[in-house]
């Protein structure tokens, strides 16, 4: 399967991944996506924030083996698929946000727009590439073949940026 590798040493905090994620999940192209994101609250499935040590940390769904979000889902919208991905059926989701309450990584998010559903990473399965990795200017986010959906790594030698 496709594995997303995040090299924490290379995150520069540009938030290009957030923007690309919004774009990948919005109808109508780049500007529309940005405006939708900024003004109408389409959310990015990823977010870069600072960790406890003040280091930039891009947050991505871990597609857990035993996902707490799936256990909490009372509508059946969230399922752990055979391919290992945790996917939300947005038609089934009723927006109870028990998944939001349950994801210890904070990667199940409530939507902010009119449609009250949960928002999470779908690994861009309907696309050729993963939007976040595609736009990452530093090579912090890359996609390789692997046996799990995601891996965080950190280099000994920090990036100069």
């Amino acid at each position: 399967m496709k594995k997303k590798v995040i090299n924490l040493s290379k995150c520069i905090g540009c938030k290009n991944c957030e923007l690309a994620c919004i774009e990948a999940h919005t109808e109508g192209g780049k500007v529309a996506a940005y405006l939708a994101g900024v003004q109408n609250s389409v959310r990015s499935r990823t977010k870069v924030e600072l960790d406890n040590n003040g280091k930039r940390f891009p947050q991505f769904c871990r597609h857990c083996d035993e996902p707490a979000c799936v256990e909490a889902c009372m509508s059946g919208a969230l399922q752990k698929q055979d391919d290992g991905l945790v996917i939300c059926d947005t038609e089934k989701c009723v927006g109870c946000y028990m998944c939001v309450m349950s994801c210890p990584y904070g990667n199940a998010r409530p939507s902010m727009g009119d449609k009250k559903i949960m928002i999470k990473c779908d690994a861009c399965t309907d696309k050729d590439c993963m939007a976040c990795a595609d736009v990452c200017p530093t090579g912090c986010i890359t996609v390789v073949e692997g046996d799990k959906a995601i891996e965080y790594i950190e280099e000994e030698k920090p990036c100069i940026l």
Partner: protein, 418 residues
């Protein structure tokens, strides 16, 4: 090997899935009083007509076949003989089992109010309750809901949204008394009142006045106040469905079946999971039910593993987790906010974010630990709070960290709240 599961809701079906996931292809029989699968958490949406039966099914399409389970719908269990590995259903049919899971859940409790028994007075626990409410709604204008817990409040908001006059009576001084504390409770009450719901908090219904033909006319409160009503819904709590176990030597208390961390009852080959069980709550350290969907699923899964010979245990059993979306406000309640330890320091944080959203965090801290929290408004990072509370995480040196937790704070560290 024959696995028998009594109950077809969260715990029962989770157990069946877990048995299959454990690799067993032995026979599984599910016995249920229900006629279909439905998510109990969506009943208020069914009662108002917002969602259909089909939409309320929480299982993937074709699950019965793909999971290869036998289902006995509309079947009530009446007794059990553990020594004979037998349960009895209505009409005295016998069903033999090797391993049994009891996941019979609970039912609405009808509070002892004069005149409560009668027409147009329903609970909201099963699909048939939701159907009944939905079918009579067109003829009803004023609905009185007794009890402002999660069920009562969510139903009140739904019915108010479709134009009904809704009255809510709650014994506690504010709605959602299990999920909120005084300040957020008052805020919630005002919110409901402002959206047109008539709130009667700190009040008790003492009598239901009915017409000669038994139709509800008014609810009389203990202060003599009279509220005109056409329909009454009781949402004042639940009782476990354990009567059929009488004389079976399965240990119970009045709130449910006692289980150990492997979801076993006092009889080793009989397991129990979901709302029908009681167990020590890790946050309150008290034996009690954990009547929430995620715990029912988790207990069902653990039971399923152990029924097939596995050895998984419940390590973080608690029912003090709720999320509710009420009248456009997201609210998450974590930990025993209704029964905080007096030694805990309470901190209330309120701000308006740049989307103009009012955000509140009520935090209960004990030294370097967060014990309970209410998040109102922006609940984006609620799961991180859940992790911190349930896993008793140290918030070293930075107590203020508790005020602004987010998913990045603990970096790439693996986390588990199950």
């Amino acid at each position: 090997m024959h696995f028998v599961i009594v109950g077809s809701s969260a715990a029962g079906t989770a157990a069946a899935r877990s048995i299959r996931k454990s690799g067993s292809s032995d026979k599984i029989t599910i016995i249920t009083e229900d006629s279909e699968f439905f998510s109990r958490c969506q009943l208020h949406l069914l009662a108002s007509g917002r969602r259909t039966h089909e939409q309320a099914n929480f299982l993937p399409e074709g699950w019965i076949d793909s999971a290869d389970v036998n289902i006995l719908w509309d079947t009530r269990v009446t007794g059990i003989a553990p020594g004979k590995h037998t349960i009895y259903t209505e009409g005295d049919s016998e069903i033999k089992y090797n391993r049994l899971l009891i996941a019979t859940g609970s039912r609405s409790w009808c509070p002892p109010i004069e005149g409560i028994e009668g027409e147009f007075t329903f609970g909201l626990r099963n699909m048939c309750d939701a159907d009944k409410i939905f079918s009579v709604l067109p003829f009803m204008q004023s609905v009185t809901i007794i009890g402002a817990g999660l069920v009562g409040c969510e139903l009140a908001a739904e019915l108010s949204a479709i134009g009904k006059t809704v009255n809510v009576i709650e014994l506690a001084p504010y709605p959602l008394p299990m999920q909120l504390e005084e300040s957020t409770g008052k805020r919630c009450s005002e919110l409901m009142q402002k959206s047109g719901i008539n709130m009667y908090c700190g009040k008790k219904a003492s009598k239901i006045k009915r017409s000669a033909d038994g139709i509800p006319k008014a609810v009389i409160l203990d202060n003599g106040e009279s509220i005109d009503t056409d329909l009454i819904v009781t949402a004042a709590g639940v009782r476990p469905n354990i009567e059929w176990l009488e004389g079976s030597e399965i240990s119970t208390d009045k709130k449910g079946i006692l289980i150990n961390e492997y979801c076993q009852t006092s009889i080793p080959d009989i397991f129990a999971a979901g709302d029908v069980t009681v167990m020590e709550d890790i946050l309150l350290r008290s034996v009690m039910p954990s009547p929430i969907w995620p715990t029912a699923i988790h207990q069902g899964r653990i039971a399923g593993i152990n029924m097939t010979g596995g050895h998984e245990s419940l390590t973080r059993n608690t029912g003090f987790r709720s999320s509710v979306r009420l009248l456009g406000n997201n609210i998450v309640s974590l930990g025993p906010v209704s029964r905080p330890d007096p030694a805990w320091e309470k901190q209330e944080i309120k701000y308006t974010n740049s989307r103009g959203q009012t955000c509140i965090k009520v935090l209960y801290m004990d030294d370097e630990h967060l014990r309970a929290a209410i998040l109102w408004g922006d609940i984006t990072d609620a799961g991180v709070y859940t992790d911190v509370i349930i896993n008793n995480r140290d918030l070293p040196a930075k107590r203020e960290l508790a005020t602004s937790l987010d998913g990045a704070k603990f970096g790439k560290e693996e986390r588990d709240i199950l």
